[in-house]
Each structure stands twice: as C-alpha cells, then as structure tokens.
C-alpha cells in the first residue's frame, strides 16, 4: 500500500529483501520452547531470597520501626531500613538513560524514614534463606504509624490550605502555550463548545512482575540482572549507593513486558543494597499485589476543551486546561505532562491557542510512564471534543477532521514544523472504510461506529540529547554479529536489528546473532521507551552496517573491476548489479577482505536531532524529533438492558514510515487494540483515600481472550520517518487513539456522551436511562 510521499524527509522506494517482510522473529524459538531465562529465573549457588515491606498507609508519620525480632530469626541474613542506608537515602527517578540535556532532577527516598506518603511506599528490605523465611521476618517487623491528613485529589492539592505532600507546594510541573490571539479566534467562531473529560488510573499489567538477581562478583563488581526497560539505571544505582559508575553492572535478559512500568527504577536499588549487605546473591520477585504498588500507573487526567469553530468546520481557537495527578512523588510526571500538552490539540492545526497544564502532588500512588505517556490521555479528550464539534455543526466527523488536519510543513501546538509525511486523512479514511456498514439496531442492542486520529511523538524529548550506539561485524564464516545494548521488552527490539543489519549486508536474519540487553559488553543504546528503540538503535545499526558494506564494496570493487556503487549484496552473495553471475559468497568475501586487511566491523552512533527547550512564556519550540500519524476505528454493540459494551471490530490504520517486520507491526496494533479497549471499558485502579482496593488480576480486569474483537491492521508506508529505511516509531502511536475510537463509538451507539472513563456497564446504563428520560421530557 505504498503511495507517493512528497514530504522533505521521504526516501525513494528501494528494493527491500527482508525489511518490511512478514518474518518470524529471532526471539520466538527460545520463548516457545521454554528456554528463555527471564530475570527471576536465574538460580545461583548460595542465593538468598528477598521481600519488601510496603506501607499499608497512604499518609502517616513513622514513629518507630522495630526490626530487632526479625533480625534474630535463623536464616535471615539482612534486614535493612532507612537507618541502614547511605545518609542521602535517595534514588534518582528522573528521565533515565544517556540524558545529556536538562532534567528535572527528581528523586525519591529509597526507604521511608519518618513519613510514608503513599500506600505501598517501601519501608524495609529482608534477605533470607527462602521466600517463606523472608516473609516471616517481614511479619515480625513492627512499624508504629501515626496517620496524618493527606490530600487525594489533584484539584484539592492546589488549594491554599492543602496539606503539602513534599517540598514547598504541591505543584509538580506546569506548562503554558500561548500562540496567536484566542480572543480574536473565538470572535471569529460561529460556535464555541466547552467540555470537560477525565480519565482514570490504568495499570500496566505486564505478565512478568518485577524481578531481579543481584550479586557481587570476584572483581567487586555489583551485578544486577533485572527485568527493566533501562540498563542504564546502573548509574543511578551506583549514585544511590555511593559507588563509582563503573562498579555496577546492570543487564536485562528478555523482559516480560514493560509498557512504561519498568522505565523508572523499580527493585534494582533494593537488591543492590541487600547484595552488598549480605555479600551473597539475592533474588527478588515481586508478588502481583506488590507489583501493583511498585511502579507508577497511568496518570488520571482532567482536560477541559473550549473550542471555537466556524460553521463550515474550521477551528478558530482553542483554550485547553489539563490537570494530572502525580501522586506522592514526581517520577516522570513533568515529562508526561509535557507530552500531554503537546498532544492536547491532536493532529490538528490550531493557530490561536492557549493551554495551561498542571501536575499536582497527592498522597495517591505515584503515577509514571505508561504507553502513550500523556499523549494518549490528551488524545482521548481531544478526539471526544472533535466528535462533539462535528455533531454540533452537523458535519461528518471525518470531513470535519479533514478541514483541520495538520499537513507536512505546518506548525503543531508548540510551533514545531512537521517535516515527515502526515497521512492522517489516508489512515482515517481507510480505517473507517474497513468498518463497513453499521449493523442495524435491535430491541436490546444498539450499535455505534467510532473514529479517532492522533499525533504521537517517537523518540525522546529533544533536549535530552538522546543517542544510540550499535556495532555490526562480519565474521570469517560469513555470519553477522550485532552488538547493541537495547533491552528487548517483547516488541521484537532485538530481532529488528538482525533484520536491519541483514538487509544492508545481504545475510538472512536467521543467521545473525544479536547481543543485546547488556551495556557493559555492548555499546550503550539507550532505553526501550518513548517508541525510540527501533528508531534509535535501528538507525545506529543501519549506519554501522552501511559502514561495513562500504568497506567491503571498496575492496570487492577492485576484485570485480567495477565501481563500488555497481555492487549489491543479497542472498548471502556480493554481486555486480548488471551481471549477477559475477558474484562471490559472503563467506568468501569475508575471507578475501580479511586477507586485504579490510575493516569488517563498525561502531556507529546515531544522534537524535537536538533542541534547547521551550520558550517558558509561549511554550513554543521543538520538543520531539518527529511524529507518527494514523487512526483507529471501532464498531461497538451496547446492550441497552445491561449497559454492557462489546467491541465487535477494531481497525488500526497507521503510517509507520516503513515496517521493519510486518508481523511485529501487526502485533503492536493488535496488542494496542486490546489494551486500549481495557482502558475504555473496564480497567480502573480504585483508590480510597490513597489506599488501593483492587490490586489483583481477579479485581482489576484486563481484557481476556473472550473479549477479543475482529482486529484489522492497515499498514501504510510513507518512508518519511527518521528511523531506519524511513521508519517511524509505532509502539505508543498505534495505542494512543484506540480508547478514543471506542468511546466515540459508544457515544454514537447510545446517542449521548459519558465524560469520565472507563465506560463501565453502570455508567453506560445510567447514561442510556438519562437520555431516555430526556427524550421522554421532550
């Protein structure tokens, strides 16, 4: 489905042999044969087992912690509280990885000392001969609390008399965007519509709870093998323990899902402390219940849109306020708020714009990174507003969107000019077409169609000065090695690098070994977050492989007596393009080039485009390297007796730039369809005064196999992205519009909109009944 793209970034069509094809991933066999060893699967001699005491209060002073009895229990080797830690007792929770640019310097106590600020805050660590013993020791620790007044709402937290969670006030971050003249814009409008939309806590619910093993080796290096998205936490672990960075070695084996929940440090620093104290290997696997309180769930957002439109459908002005609940510590809240601010206007051009956004501290669970990272919440609100606006002016909702879509060359909310392809229209058109006709309503069932578009960044914030390195080498037998410390969290991060290097050097991906997940033996590659892994590590791998290719071609050109550009590589052969009979196997080429002293490997760095930040008064500036555009559409059936919503069809249509592995792209779209469906319909962490009430899989309901609709993936390729072969990031982008499309479909089905997610049967039934009452009154 390739179309001609005229954006400045677009690269011409090339004859791809592996990239874009539907190839089984290199990591699949080890996983389906049960051989993959995850972080919690490592067994070491003399290993101890750890447990963590989490606070069962949301806001309390700690009068005392008595560990004396726990310490005397035979088989217990280490019991640590804040008193046993380095005086700083702090771990960095800011943007992890190779961050060269400005950060917020957010920190959090490793263990609570005088005060707990949220339900689940860690208080004590135990390492013992078995999990059972460690649990018994935990049970013997006595914490004397005195409950204090907390604050459990992001708006209450901003009132003058609110209890201060930490620091000087409860404002964690705030941004503003001032662009054009909104007064004038609203005057030009024929209609002005104001609505408030709010969304809930969502749990990442990766299947593998946090797990790690830590040990000190014969070189006095502290080793940690952890289920993390970020191996570069080794620096933060070292800083927390007062050790040199080069004495901490953090590696990630295959990770059992992350979705942002394993981005900020989770259990690594606790294990580091226990392993150093006990001087024995220590393993910690969080229980599911503790996992729910050990990383940050998705931020609840309240977003108010006031939008002015002309009667023919042009947006003239928008005034938007966004408020998020950061919980008891900042973690990545400031950045997530920034993403939401940039994403507040969706994929639409708004020249007269006023945005205020605030993230407030409360005594709720600290919220943090989660697929979509604020953009998803902003998209959900924006797309609801777009649908309501089109209804108000009586225009087809896609037609209305078409009049306002950002185009290549246009500025987005922060004034960043979009340079890649913007195929919002193509994607939305195809997604909606794929839904087909809406089924006819029956006595007890009504049907609805819903559409949502988005603008989601890929790559990290520009002033982070993100980089990625990769090494590609040709072995003497013609096989290839890629060394790149990307973490593989399940999306095929490792396998994609094999496909990319194999494309450039003409070797099948199955014959390529990728060493990944370990930054102390492989070049540092940055994080598997922010839809950046493929973009950044893939680009570095592509560049490194091209260097190798150039070196080889220079040598082989002489051999074939042609110019280097007349050569090509494919099917494990080097050949002359015009005369493929003149060829040599890659294996023989490796030997030939080796004999000529040719450099057969290369280390490359890819640097994301930088910027220096936003103008604090106008909020204008370049925030992200680039954006992905697309659409999701859904058909729902609503049972008017029970309020139950069933998604029947779910279609994602996205311009992915260039798919590297088609199957993996579909996997992202299909996984997103279900995760977004969960957010729209069933998933919500329930907190009562900060205390989590449904922290288990029997109470917090994620979609199961029985909830799966017909899912269709439509993949468009503009080849205009910054990634390898013109690819764009997709892990988050394809997720961001899903919930919005389902919410819009429900509104279409029942004829009224519910402004607070998720759309549980209770809420839907209430809305249906209110609508009936209203109709009866009319």
């Amino acid at each position: 489905m390739n179309q001609v793209d005229t954006s400045p970034n677009a690269i011409p069509n090339v004859n791809l042999r592996q990239v874009g094809k539907n190839k089984p991933r290199n990591d699949s066999p080890t996983k389906v044969y049960g051989k993959a060893i995850y972080a919690g699967d490592l067994i070491m001699d003399d290993m101890l087992f750890a447990k963590v005491l989490h606070s069962d209060r949301a806001c309390a002073d700690i009068k005392s912690i008595d560990v004396s009895v726990a310490k005397t229990l035979p088989g217990v080797h280490s019991v640590l509280t804040a008193d046993d830690l380095p005086a700083t007792n702090a771990v960095m929770t800011d943007m992890p990885g190779q961050v060269g640019g400005g950060t917020k310097n957010t920190k959090q106590p490793i263990l609570a000392k005088e005060r707990v600020r949220f339900y689940g805050e860690p208080i004590a660590l135990v390492a013992a001969e078995s999990y059972e013993l460690a649990q018994r020791a935990l049970d013997l620790i006595v914490v004397d609390y005195e409950d204090t007044e907390g604050v459990y709402d992001a708006f209450d937290a901003q009132k003058p008399d609110a209890p201060i969670v930490y620091g000087n006030d409860n404002i964690v971050a705030a941004y503003k965007v001032r662009k054009g003249d909104i007064e004038k814009g609203f005057q030009e409008a024929d209609f002005v519509l104001e609505n408030t939309y709010s969304s809930q806590y969502q749990e990442q619910a990766f299947l593998e709870p946090e797990a790690a093993v830590a040990w000190v080796d014969e070189h006095d290096i502290l080793n940690i093998r952890s289920s993390t998205q970020v191996v570069e936490h080794f620096r933060a672990v070292a800083d927390a323990l007062g050790m040199p960075h080069n004495k901490v070695h953090l590696q990630a084996p295959y990770v059992g899902g992350g979705f942002g929940g394993k981005e900020v440090m989770t259990i690594e620093v606790w294990l580091a402390l226990l392993a150093m104290d006990a001087q024995r290997p220590v393993k910690l696997k969080q229980t599911r219940e503790n996992s729910f309180i050990s990383h940050g769930p998705r931020h609840p957002f309240t977003i108010t849109h006031k939008t002015g439109v002309t009667k023919d459908g042009k947006i003239t002005a928008a005034k938007i306020t966004l408020t998020s609940d950061a919980g008891a510590y900042a973690k990545l809240s400031p950045y997530i708020l920034l993403y939401a601010t940039v994403g507040a206007t969706g994929p639409y051009r708004v020249d007269n714009l006023w945005i205020d956004s605030t993230s407030a501290a409360t005594n709720n669970l600290p919220t943090c990174a989660y697929r979509g990272f604020g953009t998803m919440q902003a998209t959900t609100a924006c797309e609801a507003q777009m649908e309501e606006l089109s209804k108000l002016i009586g225009l087809d909702s896609l037609e209305f969107r078409r009049k306002n879509f950002i185009q290549t060359g246009d500025p987005n909310a922060t004034g960043q000019i979009i340079r890649s392809a913007v195929w919002s229209d193509q994607c939305a058109t195809k997604a909606r077409e794929a839904l087909g006709d809406k089924p006819k309503s029956t006595e007890h069932t009504v049907y609805g169609h819903g559409l949502a578009c988005y603008q989601q960044s890929y790559g990290r914030i520009r002033w982070m000065k993100d980089t990625s390195e990769s090494w590609v080498g040709l072995e003497m037998d013609g096989t290839l090695i890629v060394r790149c410390a990307v973490t593989d969290i399940g999306a095929g991060q490792m396998s994609a690098l094999a496909q990319i290097a194999g494309e450039v050097l003409g070797v099948p991906m199955e014959e390529i070994t990728v060493y990944f997940g370990d930054g102390h033996v492989n070049p540092l590659a940055g994080t598997s977050t922010a839809s950046r892994a493929l973009y950044m590590t893939g680009k570095a791998t592509e560049l490194a492989a091209k260097n190798v290719r150039n070196n080889l071609f220079e040598c082989m050109a002489e051999y074939f007596d042609v110019r280097p550009e007349e050569l090509d590589l494919g099917d494990s052969k080097v050949f002359v393009q015009d005369n493929p009979e003149r060829c040599m196997s890659v294996k023989d080429m490796a030997k030939h080039c080796a004999a000529q002293g040719v450099h057969r490997h290369s280390l490359e760095i890819y640097r994301a485009p930088p910027s220096e930040g936003l103008d604090p008064e106008t909020g204008q500036g370049e925030v992200f390297p680039d954006f992905t555009y697309g659409a999701h559409a859904a058909t729902v059936a609503v049972d008017t007796d029970t309020g139950e919503v069933t998604v029947i069809k779910s279609v994602g249509a996205h311009d992915v730039g260039q798919s590297i592995n088609r199957q993996a792209v579909e996997g992202q779209i299909e996984g997103s369809a279900l995760m977004g469906q969960g957010f729209a319909l069933s998933e919500e962490l329930i907190l009562e005064k900060g205390v989590l009430k449904n922290g288990s899989f029997s109470e917090y309901l994620i979609p199961t196999s029985e909830d799966v609709p017909e899912i269709e993936s439509i993949i468009l390729e503009s080849r205009s992205g910054l990634g390898p072969f013109g690819s764009k990031g997709i892990g988050e982008p394809v997720f961001s519009p899903v919930a919005a499309s389902i919410v819009n479909a429900v509104a279409d089905a029942i004829g009224t909109r519910i402004h607070h997610l998720p759309l549980t049967p209770e809420k839907v039934l209430t809305a249906i009944n209110e609508e009936k009452t209203k109709e009866a009154a009319e």
Partner: protein, 162 residues
C-alpha cells in the same frame, strides 16, 4: 515452620524426587528444582502463566500444592517439544508471532495443548473459551488464535497422513 515432605513425581517423563515444605506450591517447588520454564505471574490462579498439564489436565501450578502431584505426571512447555522435534503449537506460535514478550507463552501453549487434545477441530469461540484463563498483555491474542488454528490443521493433516 511447617514440616517438609518428600514428593516423587514425573516431569516431562523423568522421575523427580523433591523435598519441599508441605505448603509449597507445585509452581515454587518445581521452579526451585530448576524447572523455570514454568512462569509465575500472579500466584493465585488469575493469569495462567504457570499452567502445566497434570496427568494431561491443565492446572495452574501456583494454586496446586506440590504434594498433590505425588506419583503423577507433570508436563511443562519443554515436555511438548523442542527445536529438533517441535510440537505443532510451538511451530505455529513461531510462524504467526504468537509470542511477544513470551512470558505468558509457556502457559498459553499448555492451555492450547489441552484444548487440542480434547477437541481437534476447535472453532474460534472454542479457542477463545479455552484460553480465557491465560492472560496476555502484548499480543491482543489474535496471533495466538491463528497459531492454535494452524496447529489444529497441522495435527489433522498428520492424523490423516498416519
């Protein structure tokens, strides 16, 4: 501390003798013995990551006590096949991309195996129902369903050929 118990069982056809605290689950007891292909996702029977076949019947090993398996046959994902001799399900999961992070995969394939043993021609609804106790957060289940359908087809062809 509760008493310890000696338990003898067969895992993937091989006899295994274990001494384990009496209250320890089959999941923890077997993982302790190195059978770490059995994954632990919730420890209370909600997610299915720890599913094994016990005398051919799928169970959540996290809510089965180790001694309950005394004298019985446990089959893990490794007992179904390997790269030299893969189970049709394993082949199909590779082909379709049914494994993403891979953490639910061992339990998912065990549940699918139990289905195909009982019902060689499952409908899509049969598959959805059979896998409803196995949570997956990555795939949206779609490629898992495809894998089970392909494996069922392969098994039917094998049966016809034999």
């Amino acid at each position: 501390m509760s008493s310890e118990k000696a338990v003898t069982l067969r895992v993937n056809g091989n006899e295994v003798n274990i001494i384990t605290p009496a209250h320890r689950t089959l999941l923890e007891a077997l993982r302790h013995e190195g059978f770490v292909e059995i994954k632990s996702g919730c420890e209370k029977g909600d997610c299915g990551a720890c599913a094994v076949l016990l005398d051919g019947v799928p169970v959540d090993s996290c809510i089965t006590l180790a001694w309950h398996a005394e004298g019985r046959d446990v089959t893990t994902i490794k007992g179904l096949g390997n790269s030299d001799s893969p189970d049709p399900l394993q082949k199909a999961f590779i082909e379709t991309g049914g494994a993403q992070c891979g953490y639910c995969t061992p339990g998912m394939i065990i549940a699918a195996k139990a289905l195909l043993n009982e019902n060689p021609e499952p409908s899509l609804d049969d598959i959805k129902k059979a896998l409803s106790g196995n949570l997956c957060r990555c795939t949206g289940y779609t490629k898992i369903f495809e894998a089970v359908q392909i494996a069922a087809e392969d098994l039917r062809k094998e049966g016809e050929a034999a």
